[in-house]
Symmetry: C2
């Protein structure tokens, strides 16, 4: 058996270090990544994927940990993909993330992967989907994505997840007024966390008002519920879990899980094609031409548009 | 003179309806767009570009209006590119935007373009740069980008702007703790708006603390100042303007304006190449193959990775 086949086999069995190794290969875009993903592919599509997003400081990490504990009590295994828990200032994981890592460190039923999102477009890191697929192929029952999200840019998570939980806090009141497309449209469930603070009821009312105005899109019959929680004390988390499960049943009943997975497949194929086209196009020769164009400041005489025409004609 | 040449000529003269028409053609990716941009290109590169970003509700619109008034008093013409002032719920511009439109409606020295960012990745809409180039070619002295930004995703605006202003409010305290890469790294100037509210000094202190830890990147000698403002009453806005001008001088003195513009050019060429590669690749024939792959649920036997190999081999 070759090395990749061996690695893939171990990933399928849920071997922790094989999973970590496969993820690193994929994240660093190593040549083996394609074959690994290709071979793991038939084993994906079983895990239920939950996205947890919201503005910074809303308590997403705490909530994710609380959900994880409850899934574990149900006997389900959990994979957590935490996007961007690193800070450029400390160079390491933020406190909340380190605490969580410690909590689940000895539980083989929980696998946590932190990914930096820096430089990527959108709220999820570039390779998030592949990392989730690895967790899926390794047999994790639930995958939790956790990512900062605000406003208009976080359509990514809605695409990656079966159920998207948008976490707000009482202080987000102002934000809702200008929240616009983004979070409102992607939310399957709203959480008002830190609900022991002033303003929780007001924000709940505002959300309800906005939801009444929301056009019924894909959901066709699903009205996003609003759950108040105090994640730090575990309050409201059982109810939240109930709502996630309810949404899962709703999706299954209406054939929407399949539709969402299909949308992911389409998106993935488009993305991979684009990547490969770029790889193929930017040959050493074309790179050098581009270098020359820049170094000789040719853009004063040849507009970038004409330069591209030239480059494509080769 | 052909139609496009005529349009381009009128844009160069600052004709308002020609500008709007050119922008619509570009935004809607009409076939004429390329030639328009190509012909306008030699006239770009003169405007100074300022990005105003921050969480929803921070008062970015009010601040942008205040800055615009002051630039106008200096005799400078202003182009405003406001990304995503539309709400899917009301279908129109939000109140603040409508008020602003009214304020400057009779001033030919101000041109406002609102763009929806929906579906685009990153904080700026897909065609923002081109719209700014049109404003630039039309002779606007200053271009103000205004966009919602949070955390990790808003590197776009830093790339589009010469000076990036990150607007926070006293309530953003929690956010700073988890702010991470995004806003901290891109800020050339911080504004704490609504500074008459409680907590303004605290957040200023927190920012100063974080800035001390910030590695000195490109800035090489520029330490982002923090300006307290109450934009609704115009307080602190003159000082903010002073800081923007100071940053502009700093960039010029160190040859960094040129460096930033070059980075934009590189990015633009990469993006345009990718777009054209995709256009060329997705022929009717390949689209049909993809359709077939999906419809016949071939993904159960042929993994997406193998399918792409097949598609690329054609």
């Amino acid at each position: 058996m070759d090395k990749i086949a061996y690695l893939v086999e171990k990933v399928r069995k849920g071997d922790v270090s094989a999973m970590a190794r496969a993820m690193s290969l994929v994240e660093n875009e190593m040549p083996q990544a394609r074959e690994i993903m290709d071979r793991l592919y038939p084993r994906t599509g079983r895990a239920y994927r939950v996205g947890v997003t919201g503005p910074p400081g809303a308590g997403k990490s705490t909530l994710t940990s609380q959900l994880t504990r409850r899934f574990r009590r149900q006997g389900k295994t959990v994979g957590i993909v935490a996007v961007d828990p690193t800070s450029p200032f400390t160079g390491g994981a933020v406190l909340g993330d380190r605490i969580r890592m410690a909590e689940f460190a000895t539980d083989p039923g929980v696998f946590i992967r932190s990914m930096a999102s820096r430089g990527s477009m959108g709220g999820l890191a570039r390779r998030t989907q592949e990392v989730a697929d690895i967790l899926d192929a390794a047999g994790k029952d639930v995958i939790l994505f956790e990512t900062v999200g605000v406003g208009q840019t976080e359509l990514d998570i809605a695409e990656a997840a079966d159920t998207t939980v948008v976490v707000l806090v009482p202080e987000s009141g102002d934000a809702i007024q200008t929240m616009k497309a983004g979070l409102m449209e992607i939310a399957d469930i709203f959480v008002v966390n830190k609900a022991d603070r002033e303003g929780a009821d007001r924000i709940k009312m505002e959300l309800e008002l906005m939801l009444q105005l929301r056009p019924d899109a894909e959901g066709a019959g699903w009205r996003p519920p609003i759950q108040l929680t105090v994640a730090s004390r575990g309050e409201g988390v059982d109810e939240l879990l109930g709502k996630i499960e309810q949404h899962g049943r709703f999706l299954r009943r209406n054939g929407l899980i399949e539709a969402r997975r299909r949308a992911r497949l389409i998106h993935k194929i488009h993305e991979l094609v684009t990547e490969r086209l770029k790889e193929k196009f930017w040959t050493e020769e074309r790179r050098q031409k581009f270098e020359k164009y820049l170094q000789e400041r040719m853009e004063d005489t040849v507009s970038p548009y004409s330069f591209i025409d030239e480059l494509m004609d080769d």
